[in-house]
């Protein structure tokens, strides 16, 4: 089920719907200009005593990841029904397994497409038609909490976040499957706290590239932004109870020399399972070890991707693969 098919079938089922043109951009492009507001959150330092510090990662890079997990999403307005956007969203996730330096797909990728529409606004007949068209993969984007819930932008945002949640769900399913059947290390693009099974596994490492939320305030922030090449911050705890995420250990790591660059250049945040009481004293060594694994993935470069300073090549490979199979 792709956008063209949906447009064609909608024209037959709901003649009053007005299909969008071929040049219509994706919601992901629109969302880029309306992302969440930046936040600073103070975090509890887990490593050593005292405030957050910069620490040098000694030792050469050590390749240790066997596989890489990433997901993609793509959502597009297929038609407007009385001005209400009907969105087609495709989410996909894959694990790419590295064997003999070449990337291969580990188990079939997950690719799913859903329709997004506000049930309250489209009417019962149209909802039935859309439900039939999507073969049950229809998601209600009705926003009953906001006054502007009928605003098309609000509806598009809701659809976009629905697709995002879908993508995260696929990533989580794959990661959990990996943790069930494999013991080797898995590099996950993004945080690991969304799934408890993944968050407590010793074989998963999450690497976050976006820093809309920084877990440092005041002097700690200066330490993070001032990290040099092959330096990491002290390990701290992320424990967002409000979002019901699992507690994980985290730290910032500078993959590349930031001289003359933006403070975020080559900066990633690493998440691993929170250590048990008996492992807490060794969390620094563990962070160094995982940092060496991640530094080993800094080459080859992920160019021409614009995020190449933070993105490892295995994740770029996942994205390219999903672009090929899911569009």
């Amino acid at each position: 089920m792709d956008v063209r098919t949906v447009r064609r079938q909608l024209a037959a089922l709901l003649p009053e719907a007005r299909p969008t043109g071929e040049g219509e951009g994706t919601l992901e492009l629109l969302a880029a200009s309306s992302v969440d507001a930046p936040r600073l959150i103070s975090a509890t330092v887990l490593e050593g005593s005292g405030p957050l510090k910069a620490r040098r990662v000694f030792g050469g890079p050590e390749p240790a990841f066997r596989a890489f997990l990433d997901g993609t999403q793509r959502s597009q307005v297929a038609a407007h029904l009385h001005g209400i956007p009907i969105v087609v969203g495709t989410a996909a996730a894959v694990i790419r397994d590295r064997r003999n330096r070449r990337m291969h797909t580990w188990s079939p990728p997950l690719v799913e497409t859903r329709l997004y529409a506000p049930r309250d606004l489209v009417g019962a007949r149209a909802w039935e038609s859309l439900s039939a068209l999507s073969r049950g993969q229809l998601v209600d984007t009705t926003d009953r909490e906001h006054e502007a819930g009928a605003h098309p932008f609000t509806l598009k945002d809701a659809a976009y976040h629905g697709v995002q949640a879908h993508r995260e769900d696929l990533e989580r399913r794959l990661a959990e499957r990996w943790c069930t059947v494999e013991n080797d290390r898995l590099f996950i693009d993004g945080g690991i706290s969304g799934s408890e099974a993944v968050a407590v596994s010793s074989c998963t490492v999450g690497v976050v590239k976006s820093h809309r939320t920084l877990y440092a305030e005041g002097p700690a922030l200066a330490v993070v932004l001032g990290l040099g090449h092959r330096e990491r911050s002290s390990v701290f705890v992320i424990n967002e109870k409000a979002s019901r995420r699992t507690k994980v250990a985290s730290w910032y790591l500078r993959l590349r020399d930031p001289s003359g660059r933006d403070p975020m250049w080559g900066l990633v945040r690493v998440e691993i399972a929170h250590p048990g009481p008996e492992e807490k004293h060794a969390i620094g060594d563990r962070a160094d070890e995982v940092s060496r694994w991640i530094l080993a993935e800094a080459s080859p470069l992920s160019l021409p991707d614009a995020r190449w300073d933070k993105m490892v090549y295995g994740i770029r490979d996942c994205e390219e693969f999903l672009r090929a199979v899911a569009g």
């Binding site: 890079p61 330096r101 070449r102 990337m103 080459s299 080859p300 021409p304 090549y313 770029r316 490979d317």
Partner: protein, 649 residues
């Protein structure tokens, strides 16, 4: 069924067409330039799933890098920083293939998306349309070699109807010198033709001109071949044996005693025959030796007069001192002398409309022929020739002209080919098809330069020979330097390793850069084949011919050293009668001149009598029987002096 090799791809910028398509493969796939593949279409057309056969003509590879600079940065500018990388970049192997055949042929559509397989033996047969001439009962396939790719070993057949005629004919082979490809390929192909030429098409023989070195001098001697070659022979159904029937012909050296060939070792002389022509044979082809500047219309008229009125006839003229019967160059010279003497006596400037200057000029040029072609042209009219009229099936006739002057080579070539054509026209050659092999074609039929008799003749064979069964197999280093009508009429073309400059000429513009690269680096024993049934050039391997290589032959059978006249004549005669001895020969010829001995030898070699001794001795006058000197009679005693003789003292 073989496993999937690749998948067809097409983009707007690189679409598929009915004659070309693209596919990608795994990085370790055994595909290369020249590999034959089969595409199985996904969607049926008119209820039939389309199959397309193609041959790889170009290959591409790239990674997801947008700029080489990105790779430099990834390696920190250090080419040996391999340890930095733990993942190889995504990489593609994309190939372009030229379509060999669509099945079904209609409707002719762009190559569909589908899966790509390596062609197996039966696929190769269909792809190259060989299935049309390999049918049981109507098989006309001649193996040229083995196509080898990705574990597929498929013999490649040429269609005899298109190689030997009558549909098309002739073969031309190009390649750089020194790789033993051109001559070896022709020797192998002749073996293959002799084995597989269909019985229903009749008989076939080959006439090879050995123009350089000892290349063709040991075709009847076994050569060394390895196991790989044996495998190729087995695959092609040819027995790895030397040629069973080979006849060698070579003129004498200028001394008229020893044969002008590297195959002069006594152990190999049993199938070597001298090539000797007289006035009659040469005069028919006078224009080969006399260029246009020499022979104007007046001279041509005199030569025609001689051919029609003088040659082999009793010629009587009141001006001449005596009747003439001209059968040899010596007779002709005597005739010329008589004519010129007569004119001098009459103090006249012309005779029978021919001016004295023209007569002198023609005499000079014709007399000169016997000097320029000494060893080939006999003054005495003796002739030893190819067995026109009794050619044998599956026999190779090698004419060794390697040691001759260019004029003599031209003369031999012109006469032999013309005689072959004449006999084939009359259907009395002895065989129905003759393959004529000429090396160094750029010398005999150059693309530029003056029009020569030999070039005209080659053009004639190339354009009309196939109807007669006269087939030209030609070879040269640079195809671009050969007359285009000669190579253009060759239905089949073979290419060995090619020179880069040659490949840059317009004649090779149809080949892709990858094919040209492959041609420039072809190994020994590999050829690119173009044949009327093949819509694209095909690469094949052929075995080393199972004959002794020239340089091996020369070291194993060294050419005979120059010997005395008697020893040379004896060596020739002993081929016919091994019981002859040098003492006998010296006894028989003790009163004969050298010319008489040579004439007798030529006659015996030509007639091959049963009793060689008797036939040879018959040429010489019997020596006077020696008689024992008897005691001379004593002179009569002087009469006694009378006693009364007053003067008796």
């Amino acid at each position: 069924m073989s496993s999937i090799l690749g998948r067809v791809v097409a983009t707007e910028r690189r679409p598929n067409t009915p004659h070309e398509f693209h596919f990608w493969t795994a990085l370790d796939s055994p595909v290369g330039i020249g590999t034959i593949v089969r595409v199985d279409g996904r969607d049926a057309v008119n209820g039939v799933l389309p199959h397309v056969y193609g041959i790889v003509t170009e290959g591409f590879s790239w990674t997801d890098l947008a700029s080489p600079l990105h790779d430099v940065m990834g390696f920190d500018g250090l080419p040996d920083a391999e340890s930095l990388h733990h993942t190889n970049r995504a990489e593609i192997r994309l190939y372009t293939a030229a379509v060999l055949r669509h099945v079904p042929e209609e409707p002719l559509q762009p190559v569909p998306m589908g899966t790509v397989f390596l062609a197996d033996e039966s696929d190769v047969e269909v792809a190259l349309r060989m299935d049309g001439y390999l049918k049981p009962g109507a098989r006309t396939g001649i193996p040229i070699g083995v196509y080898r790719a990705g574990g597929t070993d498929a013999p490649i057949y040429l269609d005899a109807d298109f190689l030997i005629g009558p549909e098309a004919a002739h073969l031309n082979i190009s390649g750089v010198s020194g790789l033993a490809t051109k001559t070896s390929a022709v020797e192998w192909l002749l073996q293959s033709i002799f084995t597989h030429f269909p019985a229903q098409k009749g008989s076939v023989a080959a006439v090879c001109f050995n123009v350089k070195g000892p290349d063709l001098c040991y075709l009847d001697q076994p050569g060394d071949i390895d196991e790989a070659d044996r495998g190729l022979y087995e695959k092609c159904g040819v027995t790895p044996d030397p040629f069973g029937n080979v006849q060698y012909f070579a003129p004498y050296k200028s001394d008229g005693v020893s044969l002008n060939t590297l195959r002069s070792n006594e152990a190999l002389l049993d199938n070597v025959t001298s090539l000797t022509w007289g006035l009659r044979e040469v005069l028919q082809y006078a224009e080969v030796l006399l260029n246009k500047d020499d022979v104007d219309a007046k001279a041509d008229a005199l030569i025609d007069f001689i051919k029609e009125n003088v040659l082999d006839k009793k010629f009587v003229d009141p001006m001449l001192e005596r009747p003439h019967s001209v059968t040899s160059f010596a007779d002709l010279d005597a005739w010329f002398r008589d004519v010129l003497r007569g004119l001098e006596k009459k103090d006249d400037q012309s005779w029978r409309t021919h001016h004295v200057a023209t007569i002198r000029k023609v005499r000079n040029r014709l007399s000169n022929i016997s000097l320029r072609c000494k060893g080939l042209v006999a003054d005495d009219g003796a002739t030893s020739d190819l067995p026109f009229g009794s050619f044998q099936d599956r026999t190779v006739y090698v004419i060794d002209v390697a040691g001759l002057e260019e004029d003599a080579q031209d003369l031999i070539f012109a006469r032999v080919v013309t005689k072959l054509r004449e006999h084939l026209e009359k259907r009395d050659l002895g065989v129905q098809h003759v393959v004529v092999f000429v090396d160094e074609l750029n010398k005999y039929a150059p693309g530029d330069g003056p029009e020569t008799y030999v070039r005209k003749m080659l053009l004639d064979i190339a354009e009309r020979g196939r109807y007669l069964g006269l087939v030209l197999f030609s070879a040269q280093q640079f195809r671009s330097q050969v007359h285009r009508r000669v190579v253009g009429n060759s239905g089949t073309a073979l290419y060995g390793r090619m020179d880069g400059d040659e490949l840059a000429t317009p004649g090779y513009a149809v080949l892709s850069p990858a094919i040209k690269t492959k041609l420039a680096t072809l190994e020994k024993g590999q050829l690119m084949v173009r044949h009327p049934h093949f819509t694209q050039p095909i690469f094949v391997r052929f075995p080393r011919p199972a004959v002794m290589r020239g340089r091996d032959g020369v070291s194993r059978y060294p050419a005979a050293q120059s010997v005395s006249l008697h020893a040379a004549v004896l060596r020739t005669l002993r081929v016919l009668d091994p019981s002859l001895t040098l003492g006998w020969l010296q006894d028989v010829t003790q009163l004969a001149t050298d010319d008489e001995i040579l004439r007798a030898r030529n006659d015996v070699v030509r007639t091959r009598p049963t009793d060689v001794r008797k036939a040879f001795a018959a040429h010489f006058r019997a020596a006077v029987v020696p008689r024992t000197a008897s005691r001379p009679h004593a002179p009569a005693p002087l009469p006694a002096v009378p006693s009364d003789d007053p003067y008796g003292f």
